[in-house]
């Protein structure tokens, strides 16, 4: 805690994990640039496509892998980006902790759901029963 302050280019370096999260967010955003172009081209390819065409598209391992990578990197980026937004506007410690917890929960759930659906589509699994059969 009592480390001497560190400076880089005349700017004080964060003492906790801020700098690491900033770097992670930038790496994620950097990776999302080519993936975003790919998502745009995919959206163009699959616009108006029927169920069979979509399944055929997912049968390509490259498509499925890129889609899974996009989902994981995007929801990781989203959790970091929304964390910054929440920390900017919510100052009450209790509310902030609660919202950050909820944020991570939602991002984790969406990332897990994406991978679950993508893996099933890539493997050509049988369609899920309505309401998961419950």
């Amino acid at each position: 805690m009592n480390r001497p302050a560190q400076y880089r280019n005349g700017v004080r370096v964060s003492e906790q994990h801020g700098a690491g999260e900033w770097t992670l967010e930038k790496i994620a955003l950097f990776l999302l640039m080519p993936l975003g172009v790919w998502v745009a081209s995919t959206a163009f390819t699959l616009s108006g496509a029927g169920y069979d065409a979509v399944l055929q598209w997912f049968a390509s391992p490259l498509n499925a892998a890129l889609m899974a990578a996009t989902a994981l990197i995007f929801f990781g980026f989203a959790s970091l980006a929304w964390k910054v937004i929440i920390e900017d506007y919510i100052h009450k410690p209790g509310s902030k902790t609660l919202l950050l917890g909820l944020l991570n929960l939602v991002c984790l759930a969406l990332a897990a759901a994406s991978v679950f659906f993508i893996v099933r589509l890539a493997l050509g699994s049988a369609p899920l029963p309505a309401g998961f059969g419950i």
Partner: protein, 153 residues
């Protein structure tokens, strides 16, 4: 009051930004949206935050699309019908604007984060591209889809 220099003396103030604080001292007003002359870089910065919000909604719609495909032909046909309806097409157009905004504005953010293009002209140029670029790109995207007959009203 030794801190009364022409810089923050209301008598010399030509900016209208010097206010008397509760402790009686004249101080320049904190910079804020109403104080600064509006600049395109501010629009780009604010729009990127809005874009992150909008593309998060888009990602949820994307997961819903994955779910529709995973739940089989009937669910996917319903999703396709919603996407092809009037509201669906408007939302779809909005999502392409958001995606292109994320790419152009995110690119601007990365360049600026690397310490590049921070002087007036390059910063203005990148901001203008990030703010205005997504709209013609989205129009082009949908224009080609319609002309190719891939999507119809």
């Amino acid at each position: 009051m030794s801190n009364l220099s022409p810089g923050n003396d209301p008598a010399f103030d030509q900016t209208g930004r010097i206010v008397i604080q509760p402790n009686g001292r004249p101080r320049p007003l904190s910079p804020h949206l109403q104080v600064w002359r509006w600049h395109i870089t501010m629009t780009a910065s604010i729009l990127f935050r809005a874009t992150i919000g909008a593309i998060s909604v888009g990602a949820v719609i994307g997961v819903a699309w994955l779910a529709a495909a995973a739940f089989g032909p009937d669910a996917y046909a319903s999703a396709l019908a919603i996407a092809g309806s009037g509201v669906g097409l408007i939302v779809g157009f909005g999502l392409t604007v958001v995606l292109f905004s994320f790419l152009l504005n995110g690119g601007r953010h990365l360049i600026n984060d690397a310490g590049q293009a921070l002087t007036l002209k390059p910063a203005d140029l990148l901001s203008n591209i990030a703010v205005w670029g997504p709209v013609p790109l989205a129009v082009l995207f949908w224009g080609v889809l319609f002309v190719a007959g891939r999507v119809s009203l």
